[in-house]
Amino acid sequence: MAKIIVVTSGKGGVGKTTSSAAIGTGLALKGHKTVIIDFDVGLRNLDLIMGCERRVVYDFVNVINKEATLTQALIKDKRTKDLFILPASQTRDKDALTAEGVEAVLEELSKEFDYIVCDSPAGIEKGAQMALYFADVAIVTTNPEVSSVRDSDRILGILQSKSRRAEQGLPPIEEHLLLTRYNPERVSEGEMLSVEDVEEILAIPLLGVIPESDAVLKASNQGTPVILDDQAEAGQAYSDAVDRLLGEQRPLRFTDVQKKGFFKRLLGG
Protein backbone atom coordinates (compact mmCIF):
# COMPACT_ATOMS: atom_id res chain seq x y z
CA MET A 1 0.00 0.00 0.00
CA ALA A 2 1.33 3.37 -0.98
CA LYS A 3 1.29 6.38 1.32
CA ILE A 4 -0.65 9.24 -0.26
CA ILE A 5 0.84 12.68 0.43
CA VAL A 6 -0.94 15.89 -0.59
CA VAL A 7 1.04 19.11 -0.99
CA THR A 8 -1.53 21.82 -0.41
CA SER A 9 -1.84 25.46 0.73
CA GLY A 10 -5.04 27.22 -0.27
CA LYS A 11 -3.14 30.25 -1.55
CA GLY A 12 -1.41 30.21 -4.91
CA GLY A 13 2.24 30.96 -5.59
CA VAL A 14 3.56 29.75 -2.24
CA GLY A 15 5.60 26.89 -3.70
CA LYS A 16 3.35 23.82 -3.89
CA THR A 17 4.66 22.57 -7.23
CA THR A 18 8.28 23.37 -6.34
CA SER A 19 7.81 21.47 -3.06
CA SER A 20 5.98 18.53 -4.69
CA ALA A 21 8.80 18.17 -7.22
CA ALA A 22 11.50 18.46 -4.55
CA ILE A 23 9.89 16.14 -2.01
CA GLY A 24 8.86 13.54 -4.61
CA THR A 25 12.41 13.51 -5.97
CA GLY A 26 13.82 13.33 -2.44
CA LEU A 27 11.69 10.28 -1.61
CA ALA A 28 12.82 8.54 -4.81
CA LEU A 29 16.47 9.38 -4.05
CA LYS A 30 15.98 7.54 -0.76
CA GLY A 31 15.00 4.46 -2.73
CA HIS A 32 11.21 4.72 -2.43
CA LYS A 33 9.28 4.21 -5.64
CA THR A 34 7.41 7.49 -6.02
CA VAL A 35 4.90 9.06 -8.40
CA ILE A 36 4.04 12.77 -8.41
CA ILE A 37 0.56 13.60 -9.72
CA ASP A 38 -0.36 17.06 -11.00
CA PHE A 39 -3.97 17.81 -9.92
CA ASP A 40 -4.02 21.29 -11.47
CA VAL A 41 -6.33 20.48 -14.38
CA GLY A 42 -6.20 23.22 -17.00
CA LEU A 43 -3.01 24.78 -15.59
CA ARG A 44 -0.46 22.00 -15.89
CA ASN A 45 2.97 23.02 -14.58
CA LEU A 46 4.58 20.13 -12.73
CA ASP A 47 5.90 18.87 -16.09
CA LEU A 48 7.82 22.14 -16.58
CA ILE A 49 9.28 22.11 -13.06
CA MET A 50 10.34 18.47 -13.56
CA GLY A 51 11.71 19.20 -17.03
CA CYS A 52 9.58 16.63 -18.84
CA GLU A 53 7.12 18.96 -20.64
CA ARG A 54 8.05 17.68 -24.08
CA ARG A 55 7.47 14.07 -23.13
CA VAL A 56 3.79 14.44 -22.19
CA VAL A 57 1.58 12.30 -24.43
CA TYR A 58 -1.31 11.20 -22.23
CA ASP A 59 -2.45 12.74 -18.94
CA PHE A 60 -4.35 12.09 -15.70
CA VAL A 61 -7.77 12.82 -17.26
CA ASN A 62 -7.05 10.48 -20.20
CA VAL A 63 -6.43 7.71 -17.67
CA ILE A 64 -9.61 8.52 -15.70
CA ASN A 65 -11.63 8.47 -18.94
CA LYS A 66 -9.90 5.23 -19.96
CA GLU A 67 -8.53 6.83 -23.13
CA ALA A 68 -5.06 5.67 -22.07
CA THR A 69 -3.58 3.22 -19.58
CA LEU A 70 -1.52 4.31 -16.59
CA THR A 71 1.57 2.76 -18.15
CA GLN A 72 1.06 4.95 -21.22
CA ALA A 73 0.52 8.14 -19.23
CA LEU A 74 3.25 7.79 -16.58
CA ILE A 75 6.48 9.59 -17.46
CA LYS A 76 9.64 8.03 -16.09
CA ASP A 77 12.04 10.66 -14.74
CA LYS A 78 15.33 10.70 -16.62
CA ARG A 79 17.55 11.79 -13.75
CA THR A 80 16.17 9.98 -10.73
CA LYS A 81 15.57 6.27 -10.50
CA ASP A 82 12.21 5.10 -9.09
CA LEU A 83 10.51 8.42 -9.94
CA PHE A 84 7.47 8.92 -12.17
CA ILE A 85 5.25 11.87 -13.10
CA LEU A 86 1.57 11.83 -13.99
CA PRO A 87 0.84 15.14 -15.74
CA ALA A 88 -2.43 17.09 -15.46
CA SER A 89 -4.71 17.56 -18.40
CA GLN A 90 -4.91 20.93 -20.16
CA THR A 91 -8.67 20.55 -20.62
CA ARG A 92 -10.87 23.40 -19.49
CA ASP A 93 -13.54 21.01 -18.23
CA LYS A 94 -13.64 21.60 -14.48
CA ASP A 95 -15.52 18.36 -13.83
CA ALA A 96 -12.89 16.20 -15.48
CA LEU A 97 -11.72 14.92 -12.09
CA THR A 98 -14.36 12.64 -10.57
CA ALA A 99 -13.99 11.11 -7.11
CA GLU A 100 -14.53 7.62 -8.52
CA GLY A 101 -12.01 8.19 -11.31
CA VAL A 102 -9.35 9.59 -8.99
CA GLU A 103 -9.90 6.78 -6.50
CA ALA A 104 -9.49 4.12 -9.20
CA VAL A 105 -6.22 5.66 -10.44
CA LEU A 106 -4.84 6.00 -6.89
CA GLU A 107 -5.78 2.41 -6.12
CA GLU A 108 -3.96 1.14 -9.18
CA LEU A 109 -0.88 3.26 -8.38
CA SER A 110 -0.95 2.04 -4.76
CA LYS A 111 -0.12 -1.47 -5.90
CA GLU A 112 3.14 -0.38 -7.52
CA PHE A 113 4.39 2.63 -5.63
CA ASP A 114 5.58 3.40 -2.09
CA TYR A 115 4.62 7.09 -2.20
CA ILE A 116 2.04 9.02 -4.21
CA VAL A 117 2.62 12.79 -4.03
CA CYS A 118 -0.45 14.83 -5.03
CA ASP A 119 0.40 18.35 -6.18
CA SER A 120 -2.76 20.33 -5.35
CA PRO A 121 -3.96 23.36 -7.30
CA ALA A 122 -4.53 26.63 -5.41
CA GLY A 123 -7.97 27.43 -4.03
CA ILE A 124 -10.58 25.21 -2.41
CA GLU A 125 -12.46 24.14 -5.54
CA LYS A 126 -12.90 20.64 -6.98
CA GLY A 127 -9.26 20.07 -8.01
CA ALA A 128 -7.93 20.99 -4.57
CA GLN A 129 -10.61 18.91 -2.86
CA MET A 130 -9.80 15.88 -5.03
CA ALA A 131 -6.06 16.26 -4.35
CA LEU A 132 -6.55 16.10 -0.59
CA TYR A 133 -9.58 13.79 -0.32
CA PHE A 134 -7.70 10.46 -0.34
CA ALA A 135 -4.56 11.67 1.48
CA ASP A 136 -2.86 9.97 4.43
CA VAL A 137 -0.39 12.84 4.95
CA ALA A 138 -0.73 16.56 4.20
CA ILE A 139 2.15 18.94 3.69
CA VAL A 140 0.69 22.40 4.23
CA THR A 141 2.93 24.78 2.31
CA THR A 142 2.89 28.27 3.83
CA ASN A 143 4.73 31.56 3.32
CA PRO A 144 5.40 33.72 6.41
CA GLU A 145 2.77 36.22 5.30
CA VAL A 146 -0.78 36.93 6.56
CA SER A 147 -2.90 35.77 3.63
CA SER A 148 -0.95 32.54 3.20
CA VAL A 149 -1.19 31.65 6.91
CA ARG A 150 -4.91 32.34 6.98
CA ASP A 151 -5.53 30.22 3.87
CA SER A 152 -3.43 27.40 5.33
CA ASP A 153 -5.66 27.39 8.39
CA ARG A 154 -8.69 27.20 6.12
CA ILE A 155 -7.16 24.19 4.34
CA LEU A 156 -6.51 22.54 7.73
CA GLY A 157 -10.23 22.86 8.43
CA ILE A 158 -11.02 21.14 5.10
CA LEU A 159 -8.49 18.36 5.78
CA GLN A 160 -10.20 17.76 9.12
CA SER A 161 -13.77 17.71 7.80
CA LYS A 162 -13.93 17.03 4.05
CA SER A 163 -11.33 14.29 3.52
CA ARG A 164 -12.06 10.59 3.19
CA ARG A 165 -10.41 9.92 6.54
CA ALA A 166 -12.67 12.51 8.21
CA GLU A 167 -15.84 11.34 6.48
CA GLN A 168 -15.24 7.68 7.26
CA GLY A 169 -14.15 8.29 10.85
CA LEU A 170 -10.65 6.91 10.21
CA PRO A 171 -7.56 8.25 12.01
CA PRO A 172 -7.07 11.84 10.82
CA ILE A 173 -4.67 12.97 8.07
CA GLU A 174 -1.16 13.50 9.43
CA GLU A 175 -0.53 17.25 9.07
CA HIS A 176 2.87 18.88 8.50
CA LEU A 177 3.85 22.52 8.12
CA LEU A 178 6.36 23.42 5.41
CA LEU A 179 7.37 27.07 5.67
CA THR A 180 8.74 28.34 2.36
CA ARG A 181 10.34 31.59 1.13
CA TYR A 182 11.72 32.26 4.61
CA ASN A 183 14.00 35.23 5.04
CA PRO A 184 15.86 35.19 8.40
CA GLU A 185 17.17 38.76 7.93
CA ARG A 186 13.67 40.17 7.59
CA VAL A 187 12.50 38.09 10.55
CA SER A 188 15.26 39.50 12.73
CA GLU A 189 14.26 43.03 11.65
CA GLY A 190 10.68 42.33 12.75
CA GLU A 191 9.42 42.60 9.18
CA MET A 192 8.43 38.97 8.71
CA LEU A 193 6.55 36.38 10.79
CA SER A 194 9.00 33.96 12.40
CA VAL A 195 8.89 30.15 12.28
CA GLU A 196 7.69 30.18 15.89
CA ASP A 197 4.91 32.68 15.08
CA VAL A 198 3.53 30.54 12.25
CA GLU A 199 3.86 27.34 14.29
CA GLU A 200 1.99 28.96 17.16
CA ILE A 201 -0.87 30.17 14.95
CA LEU A 202 -1.36 27.02 12.89
CA ALA A 203 -0.48 24.61 15.72
CA ILE A 204 0.75 21.74 13.54
CA PRO A 205 4.19 20.07 13.61
CA LEU A 206 6.94 21.64 11.51
CA LEU A 207 8.35 19.57 8.66
CA GLY A 208 10.84 22.10 7.38
CA VAL A 209 11.77 25.69 6.61
CA ILE A 210 12.92 26.51 3.09
CA PRO A 211 14.88 29.75 2.88
CA GLU A 212 14.08 32.25 0.13
CA SER A 213 16.69 31.43 -2.46
CA ASP A 214 17.79 32.32 -5.99
CA ALA A 215 18.36 28.61 -6.51
CA VAL A 216 14.60 27.97 -6.68
CA LEU A 217 14.08 30.19 -9.73
CA LYS A 218 17.25 28.87 -11.32
CA ALA A 219 16.04 25.29 -10.82
CA SER A 220 12.62 26.01 -12.34
CA ASN A 221 14.27 27.82 -15.27
CA GLN A 222 16.21 24.65 -15.96
CA GLY A 223 13.44 22.16 -15.20
CA THR A 224 15.41 20.50 -12.41
CA PRO A 225 13.89 19.91 -8.95
CA VAL A 226 15.78 22.22 -6.56
CA ILE A 227 16.53 19.32 -4.18
CA LEU A 228 19.10 18.09 -6.75
CA ASP A 229 21.07 21.33 -6.20
CA ASP A 230 22.96 20.12 -3.14
CA GLN A 231 25.05 23.31 -3.06
CA ALA A 232 21.98 25.49 -2.51
CA GLU A 233 20.51 26.10 0.94
CA ALA A 234 17.00 25.53 -0.44
CA GLY A 235 18.03 22.15 -1.83
CA GLN A 236 19.60 21.11 1.47
CA ALA A 237 16.56 22.33 3.41
CA TYR A 238 14.29 20.16 1.22
CA SER A 239 16.57 17.15 1.85
CA ASP A 240 16.21 17.73 5.59
CA ALA A 241 12.41 17.94 5.19
CA VAL A 242 12.33 14.61 3.31
CA ASP A 243 14.44 12.98 6.05
CA ARG A 244 12.03 14.25 8.70
CA LEU A 245 9.08 13.00 6.65
CA LEU A 246 10.71 9.56 6.78
CA GLY A 247 10.93 9.82 10.57
CA GLU A 248 14.53 10.92 10.99
CA GLN A 249 15.63 13.73 13.31
CA ARG A 250 17.27 16.72 11.61
CA PRO A 251 18.13 20.04 13.27
CA LEU A 252 16.69 23.18 11.60
CA ARG A 253 19.14 24.97 9.33
CA PHE A 254 19.18 28.34 7.56
CA THR A 255 16.70 29.95 9.95
CA ASP A 256 19.18 32.27 11.70
CA VAL A 257 20.83 35.39 10.38
CA GLN A 258 24.43 34.90 9.38
CA LYS A 259 26.74 36.77 11.72
CA LYS A 260 27.74 40.22 10.53
CA GLY A 261 31.19 41.70 11.09
CA PHE A 262 31.83 44.02 14.04
CA PHE A 263 31.73 47.29 12.07
CA LYS A 264 28.65 46.33 10.16
CA ARG A 265 26.86 45.57 13.42
CA LEU A 266 28.06 48.80 15.01
CA LEU A 267 26.85 50.92 12.13
CA GLY A 268 23.68 48.95 11.44
CA GLY A 269 22.43 47.84 8.05
Binding site: R150, M192, G269
Partner: protein, 85 residues
Protein backbone atom coordinates in the same frame (compact mmCIF):
# COMPACT_ATOMS: atom_id res chain seq x y z
CA UNK B 1 20.50 46.51 15.12
CA UNK B 2 23.17 49.23 14.87
CA UNK B 3 24.17 51.99 17.25
CA UNK B 4 21.87 54.50 15.53
CA UNK B 5 18.83 52.30 16.10
CA UNK B 6 19.11 52.84 19.86
CA UNK B 7 18.07 56.45 19.41
CA UNK B 8 14.86 55.49 17.66
CA UNK B 9 11.64 55.20 19.60
CA UNK B 10 11.10 51.72 21.00
CA UNK B 11 7.37 52.00 21.54
CA UNK B 12 6.20 51.06 18.05
CA UNK B 13 5.48 47.32 17.57
CA UNK B 14 7.12 45.66 14.58
CA UNK B 15 4.98 44.91 11.54
CA UNK B 16 5.54 41.19 12.13
CA UNK B 17 4.02 41.39 15.61
CA UNK B 18 1.05 43.33 14.20
CA UNK B 19 0.64 40.56 11.60
CA UNK B 20 0.77 37.89 14.30
CA UNK B 21 -1.86 39.61 16.46
CA UNK B 22 -4.22 40.11 13.51
CA UNK B 23 -3.79 36.50 12.41
CA UNK B 24 -4.45 35.09 15.87
CA UNK B 25 -7.74 36.98 16.09
CA UNK B 26 -9.03 36.13 12.61
CA UNK B 27 -7.93 32.49 12.78
CA UNK B 28 -9.62 32.00 16.17
CA UNK B 29 -12.80 33.60 14.81
CA UNK B 30 -12.83 31.45 11.68
CA UNK B 31 -12.12 28.28 13.66
CA UNK B 32 -15.08 28.90 15.96
CA UNK B 33 -17.34 29.34 12.92
CA UNK B 34 -15.99 26.12 11.43
CA UNK B 35 -17.20 24.07 14.37
CA UNK B 36 -20.71 25.52 14.17
CA UNK B 37 -23.42 23.52 12.44
CA UNK B 38 -24.06 24.59 8.83
CA UNK B 39 -27.63 25.72 9.45
CA UNK B 40 -26.55 28.48 11.86
CA UNK B 41 -25.50 30.87 9.09
CA UNK B 42 -28.80 30.46 7.24
CA UNK B 43 -30.79 30.74 10.45
CA UNK B 44 -29.02 34.01 11.21
CA UNK B 45 -29.98 35.38 7.77
CA UNK B 46 -33.62 34.42 8.29
CA UNK B 47 -33.76 35.94 11.77
CA UNK B 48 -32.35 39.17 10.34
CA UNK B 49 -35.02 39.12 7.62
CA UNK B 50 -37.82 38.70 10.19
CA UNK B 51 -36.52 41.49 12.43
CA UNK B 52 -36.17 43.77 9.42
CA UNK B 53 -39.90 43.52 8.81
CA UNK B 54 -40.31 45.60 11.95
CA UNK B 55 -37.03 47.39 12.66
CA UNK B 56 -34.28 48.45 10.29
CA UNK B 57 -31.07 46.72 11.47
CA UNK B 58 -27.68 46.00 9.97
CA UNK B 59 -26.48 42.42 9.35
CA UNK B 60 -23.91 42.65 12.11
CA UNK B 61 -26.48 43.79 14.68
CA UNK B 62 -27.42 40.14 15.14
CA UNK B 63 -24.91 37.89 16.89
CA UNK B 64 -25.66 34.21 17.05
CA UNK B 65 -23.72 31.57 18.93
CA UNK B 66 -24.17 27.95 19.80
CA UNK B 67 -22.46 26.78 22.95
CA UNK B 68 -22.15 23.12 23.79
CA UNK B 69 -21.84 21.98 27.36
CA UNK B 70 -21.87 18.40 28.58
CA UNK B 71 -25.58 17.73 28.58
CA UNK B 72 -27.14 20.56 26.59
CA UNK B 73 -26.56 23.14 23.86
CA UNK B 74 -27.38 26.80 24.37
CA UNK B 75 -28.31 28.96 21.42
CA UNK B 76 -27.47 32.54 22.26
CA UNK B 77 -29.02 35.29 20.19
CA UNK B 78 -28.04 38.92 20.60
CA UNK B 79 -29.91 41.59 18.68
CA UNK B 80 -28.90 45.21 18.89
CA UNK B 81 -31.86 47.42 17.98
CA UNK B 82 -30.88 50.96 17.05
CA UNK B 83 -32.14 53.80 19.24
CA UNK B 84 -35.12 55.79 18.02
CA UNK B 85 -34.23 59.12 16.52
Amino acid sequence: MGIFDYFKSKSEPTSASVAKDRLQIIVAHERSRRTQPDYLEQMQQEIIAVIRKYVQIESDDVQIQLENTDDCSVLELNVTIPEKN
